[in-house]
């Protein structure tokens, strides 16, 4: 099952040559490639693997806790988050205007402040919420339904989108999530659906809805479908009238193209009004290609591969449960699937959060911490394109220097607002390294760290290639 990139590239290059009828070129391509592009190898202890895939990584003591309760109980707990966040987290979140105020009120505040608060809230929950699986799904859906915080008033609308669309439905039903996103002022503005009116309709939302949110680019729609779907959504917008619910979703029949339409072979009769768009969402949410596309992305995120047979089984679960997300996740985390999973690279956000968790750091996740994440190129809600931050490992190979500088600062307690109490984890350096990396063999860390003090050992652990992967 461990298919290295080298082998994959070899196979695909041959396939490419056959397709193009130019085998010599394909051979040359393969021969010219650096031969050492591959995934890390080595076995991972099952509890660590489970916790690493379900959560943003273990905190001190978490592996022991999961071992004690057993994998089934742990998964039940994570699939069914109950109760509020812990009080310490709630108190920090309550200070953030970005989630408390509505968009119109917030416009008085500087955009930079709101963007920073959104980043803070997201980091805080990812690092400290006990509902870890929900937070990982929030990260997943926030990429899937990406909003660029620097476009227009998006920063002011993203807090509501995060609460009402993403987190509310993160473990719920895909159709509900899709419909909530379509009605979300943040999305209406980001993909220009709010200015989509009859005449020459604006295709932006219609295209990304099918390409990125549901069917996938080869999911069987045509340019004609894009234009028809765009017509269905004409008149959807954001309320801006005096004495109305300003900033909320509104449908304006005057701006709607009420003629008949045809979407993916379905006829939509004239005069449907707002229901045209709702019908499109329903068709798309229930389409088998949507199940396949969403499941392939989930498979890559949680299992590190997109094996066809696994994705097909996942898509069956998705369809049989009418887009309920929990059964799909339950399937993903089966012992069989986890045992066949591939290493998956931590993107910068994941890396920072897992480092905070591993060291038991207490952080306000304020600007000084955020600056490190920004240097790694993954400021939260700041990816301009609608596809969300990249998931390919190669995209992030240029971020190591920023990662190293972050862990050095973290281990030495040099990040303002972030406190680490390393001796609290373990005072003996070997056991300390084992606790942070979650594995027994830490000889390479002992060799590399040179000095046995805890800060050096922590730096070596977090800076090591091991910690860049799950």
């Amino acid at each position: 099952m461990k298919l290295t990139r080298r082998k994959m590239l070899g196979l695909t290059a041959v396939a490419a040559g056959t397709l193009a009828g130019c085998a010599p070129v394909a051979r040359r391509l393969a021969a010219d490639l650096p031969s050492d592009v591959s995934l890390p190898t080595g076995d991972v202890e099952p509890t660590l693997r489970l916790v690493n895939r379900v959560s943003f990584g273990p905190t001190p003591g978490e592996l022991a806790r999961v071992k004690a309760m057993g994998r089934d109980a742990y998964l039940e707990e994570q699939l069914n988050p109950e109760g509020d966040e812990p009080i310490s987290l709630l108190l920090q979140l309550q200070r953030l205007d970005a989630y408390r105020m509505d968009a119109a009120e917030m416009e008085e505040l500087p955009e930079e402040l709101i963007l920073s608060q959104l980043q803070q809230g997201t980091l805080l929950r990812a690092a400290y919420s006990p509902h870890q699986l929900r937070e990982r799904m929030v990260e997943f859906w926030s990429d899937h339904f990406n909003i660029y915080g620097r476009k227009g008033s998006a920063a002011f609308r993203k807090g509501t989108d995060d609460t009402e669309v993403i987190r509310k439905n993160a473990l719920g039903n895909f159709h509900d999530l899709l419909a909530a996103s379509a009605h979300s002022p943040a999305m209406l503005a980001y993909l220009d659906n709010q200015v989509n009116v009859k005449g020459v309709a604006n295709e932006n939302y219609a295209r990304e809805l099918m390409e990125l949110h549901t069917l996938g680019v080869h999911g069987g729609y045509t340019q004609h479908d894009v234009q028809q779907v765009a017509r269905c959504f004409t008149g959807w917008g954001i309320e801006n009238r005096f004495l109305h619910a300003k900033g909320k979703f509104v449908f304006d029949p005057e701006k709607h193209d009420d003629g008949p339409k045809e979407v993916l072979g379905h006829s939509i009769g004239a005069g449907g009004g707002e229901a045209d768009g709702d019908l499109v969402l329903k068709i798309l949410a229930n389409h088998p290609n949507t199940a396949k596309f969403v499941c392939a992305k989930l498979c890559r995120r949680f299992l590190g591969h997109t094996d066809d047979a696994t994705v097909a089984k996942m898509a069956d679960v998705f369809l049989a449960n009418r887009g309920e997300i929990k059964p799909v996740l339950k399937f993903i985390f089966s012992e069989e699937n986890l045992s066949k999973s591939q290493p998956s690279q931590k993107r910068p956000f994941d890396f920072v959060v897992s480092a905070l968790r591993a060291t038991g750091a207490q952080s306000d996740c304020g600007k000084p911490l955020q600056e490190h994440l920004e240097k790694m190129g993954q400021a939260v809600y700041q990816w301009p394109m609608p596809d969300g931050y990249p998931v390919k490992p190669e995209a992030w190979t240029g971020t190591l220097l920023a990662r190293w500088n972050f862990v050095a600062a973290l281990s030495k307690g040099e990040i303002k607002g972030t406190v680490v109490d390393l001796p609290k984890i373990e005072k003996r350096s070997q056991e300390f390294a084992q606790a942070i990396l979650g594995k027994a063999d830490v000889r390479h860390i002992e060799t590399a760290s040179q000095k046995p003090d805890l800060a050096s050992v922590a730096t070596a652990c977090l800076a090591s290639p091991d910690f860049q992967w799950r």
Binding site: L9, V25, A31, A395, L400, A402, N405, T447
Partner: protein
Amino acid sequence: MSQGCESYRVAESKRSEDFGWQISRRGLLATLSLGALLGARSALGQVVLSEDAKDHQGDVIVNVFLRGGMDGLSAVVPYAEDAYHRARPNLRLRSPKDASQGAAYQALDLDGFFGLNPAMAALLPLFKEGKMSFVHAAGSGDQTRSHFEAMNAMERGMYQMRGGVQTGWIARHLASTPRRTETPLRAVALSATMPDSLRGASHATAMESLTDFRLADPEMRDMLVSLYGSGQDVMTQAGRETLDVLQKLSKIDVKLDPKKYPANSLGQALQQVAVLIRSNVGLEVASLEMGGWDTHVAQGTVNGWLPSYLKDLAAALAAFEADMGPDMKRVTVIVQTEFGRRVEENTGLGTDHGRASTMFLMGGSVKGGRVFAEWPGLEKNQLDEVGDLRVTTDYRDVLADALTKRAPGSNPTAVFPDWTAKKQGFFA
């Protein structure tokens, strides 16, 4: 300016006799075999440079990718086409001779057919001095009009996206040519994330800023050398390269003069490239990007979104040219985008995803002062599918011509898997 759709019109140019790319197959073969002489290959596939080629180490290729789909019809305006004015009643610029809306709305004449957007006036002197050219109606074969498919295709050097080709065109270019010098910095991406064009490249790195590119704690180096010494996964490999680059950069003097460049991100990135080129660190390719071109709504004509982006782009390129001065002789700049935009404006006064757009070429070797265009026309029956400017120049013809002429030893047929040369003569 109407023309039959069956016979394309080659846009007028002051020196259209030099066009060079309406050449016969025979002429093409002759050119190719000349290339073969320059870079003879030994049995092992190792490239052996001739003495001539050794004298010219090759240009630094600076590739700027405009992400989001730049509206080529607004950058280089086909003002002489009636259909342009009909399709863009609100967004159009006027002919250089039509002062009815005031000078601000007049395109700056390039060749009697095309005019430059006045927001890009900073580039007009370069064009007139023969230091710059444009290629219009250029693009890929992507029909999905998806940003990501179209970018994927271009960054992998393909006409259309399909499975199988995983590596980027710049990565394959580097792999197919001998390293000019022993360096970890053959290619650099001035961005936090590595672009797909460099996917699979060795001796390539991504960075946002030269001045930030240092270990905060220099004592960490030995630890990292030990940690990253042996593994073969993609991050460990990248770690070793990062350590090499750190060492290389520690030896150069990074002097930045913020006044020389506009404050926009492309300007700042180009300034870093200029430092790297002048420091002779062995740089062969720089990959830069500028986002924000997805102008679906209110793109603006002389004020607003698109004009301000075009202005930033032009100012950054002009500053780079001025800064490099005589060193521009060994630099080739190629600006490209994943697709152009729909010919007809939409009701939101923006434009939706289209097909062909415009490429910008700069550098010591461009055949400047002209707009290369096998112009397909903008009348309804001349447009592609839903009303888009047709692609008549494969963007890879331009890239391949640059590699052939300016990167000795490069092998464009290995770099671009399913490509055959159709047009050339963009570079000397």
